[in-house]
């Protein structure tokens, strides 16, 4: 697929494969709610034709869930000399480059499922909300090491807004 975005010569660091389970569990919850909601018209009206709606939703949901492992593999980041590169997305690709000096703070969060599999999410926060660099699915030790490394790098390249 030559039309895809790609940066040549970048050795991407990937997130933990265990993150698939975190993503699957959170997506599955949303999918179940959506499925239940799509059943409502059929249940309320009693028309059999309405059952096509939950069936269509089910097919879409299964497709989305099936692509989760690929999506997780598409997440990548790399610490270059002066900036942090981040990529994610399969259908909608997104690449971001943030100079270290732009760091305002680093946030590490852990959801309940992440905690079970020993992962945490790292957010690199800049003054621009649209930067939104959030590296999910990092093993706890690596996330903390990465945080210290990024803070140290930002310290050496401190800049204003």
């Amino acid at each position: 697929m030559t039309n895809r975005l790609n940066l040549p010569g970048i050795e991407w660091r990937r997130v933990s494969p265990k993150y698939v389970w975190v993503d699957l569990s959170s997506s599955a919850v949303g999918a179940l709610i959506l499925l239940a909601a799509s059943c409502l018209p059929a249940v309320i009206s009693g028309f059999a034709a309405w059952w096509s709606l939950p069936i269509a939703v089910f097919v879409i949901v299964v497709l989305v869930l099936a692509f989760i492992p690929r999506r997780v593999r598409a997440i990548g980041f790399q610490l270059r000399d002066d900036d942090l590169l981040f990529r994610r997305g399969l259908l909608f690709q997104r690449f971001v480059s943030v100079p270290y000096g732009r760091m305002q703070l680093i946030d590490i969060t852990r959801g309940p499922v992440s905690r079970i599999v020993g992962l945490s999410d790292l957010h690199f926060v800049t003054a621009a909300a649209s930067s939104s660099v959030a590296i999910p699915g990092l093993p706890v030790a690596i996330a903390e090491e990465l945080r210290d490394q990024l803070v140290a790098l930002a310290e050496t390249r401190r800049a204003g807004l």
Binding site: N3, R4, L5, P99, G101, A127, G160
Partner: protein
Amino acid sequence: MTDQQFEGDPIQDLLPSGAVLSTRLADGEWHRLHPATPLLKGGIVFIALAGYFISQARQQLIDLFFGAPHAHDDGDPLIFLTAHGRLPIALLIIAGVLVLIVVMFYLSWRVHTFRITDEVVEVRSGLLRRSLRKGRLDRIQGINIVRPFFARLFGAARLEIDVAGHDANVRLDYLSSAKADGLRLDILRLASGTRQREAAQAAPDQRGFVEQRVAEFIAPELDPNLVPPESVVKVHVGRLIGSIFLHDTTFTLLVLIALAAVASTLTGTLVFVIYFLVPLVLGLGGFLFRRFTKSLRYSIASTPDGVRVGFGLLTLSNETLPPGRIHSVQVRQPILWRLPGWWEIRINRASKSNAKGADAQRNTTILPVGNLDDVLRVLGLLLPAVSPGSVEVLRNGIVGSGADGGFTNSPRRAAVIRWFSFRRNGFAEVPGVVLLRKGAVWRELTLIPEARAQSIGITQGPLYRALRLARIHVHTVNGPVRAELGALDKDVALGFFETASLQVVSAVGTDATHRWGAEGLTA
């Protein structure tokens, strides 16, 4: 009233009225605000209430003092009190409450103090609930001086120091109007990191209070001695009115009125007019009216400490944006402005005021309306990094199309999604600034100083993938300007991503505008 008395400040007392060194307030000591502050902040409502009460009770008061035999007990508490001889007690209670309120106001004024050191500006206030607000001088995004109509009667002004962050502003309300400008200059000097502080000295003003007030009222909004006239861009009233009539919102309003009129005649009821048109007219009309009043006597000027934007007829407001505080600039043209050739300039900045209403427009619309020459001059003020040699690139970015002036355009195949503008849709770079040009019908040009870009992004969705296209983003602080450009060739976009991220890194490394006055730097 004009000269504030600061306790423990003997020099202040020795100086004649008005002859205050402008540096006095920024000397690192705690100072009090203008004595009329409590009155301006809420006392006016109180006085109005008291006046209303007295006018209502006038008849009873006359009766009380001149002995009136006919008091009807018809449920009026005042008459009831008079009839039962309890009025003196009631008056005593009211007087006690009044005294208490006045004492509270006085005490809260006493404890409301501020100080400005080399590093921070601090305001502490509150009698029972103490509060201390600090703003770092190197994070100042702009200093705003507002002179509301009532405050002008007392010769007071409000100084608002915008610090980066949402509603992180430090407000000094109110200060003596004459000193506010000097204090702003001092704060900006301190923030700029200038080594030697040239003390700007205000000329002694020996006129009386009333004469001073009158002089201030009829003075032009922008002091002609303050800035060289060639660096001032003004908005004329005629053009302002015209721009509002030709604004897209007005156009929408007229179309909707026509639609409602047609619908009403067809259906024979006024239901559309009442439920649909009236709220709409009120809303949109209010927006346009605020836009008009906030743009009266508008001027933009260049000062050594940044860009000064001033406006207002009764309530005056002027703001100074220090260098390097503008995160992105957008020049755009509503479709109906194309005929007279007018443009509007909006900016993104790191501070947001929580001030209500059309102040949001004040904060981000830097030029409400202007022709191409005005636009180029204002861009020169806003982005001093753009060298005069790049003016042609700017002009091309605003009105041009094609590859002139170093613009990299969308490929031909992008015509599928950019029907009219694929030849105009493109980006260029002049030293220090990225230019994104788009739109053939609604033309706009976005400029981002590389030293202010937070990050660079590139995205691609399925449609773009099929067309071998991509979208580039330059992330800046939040605001009305979104710096992104779609429908670019995928490889061109990747090239932009690579070079721009390198440029931003080097621009961030060399940027020193937060200390724009420091030695070896002329921003």
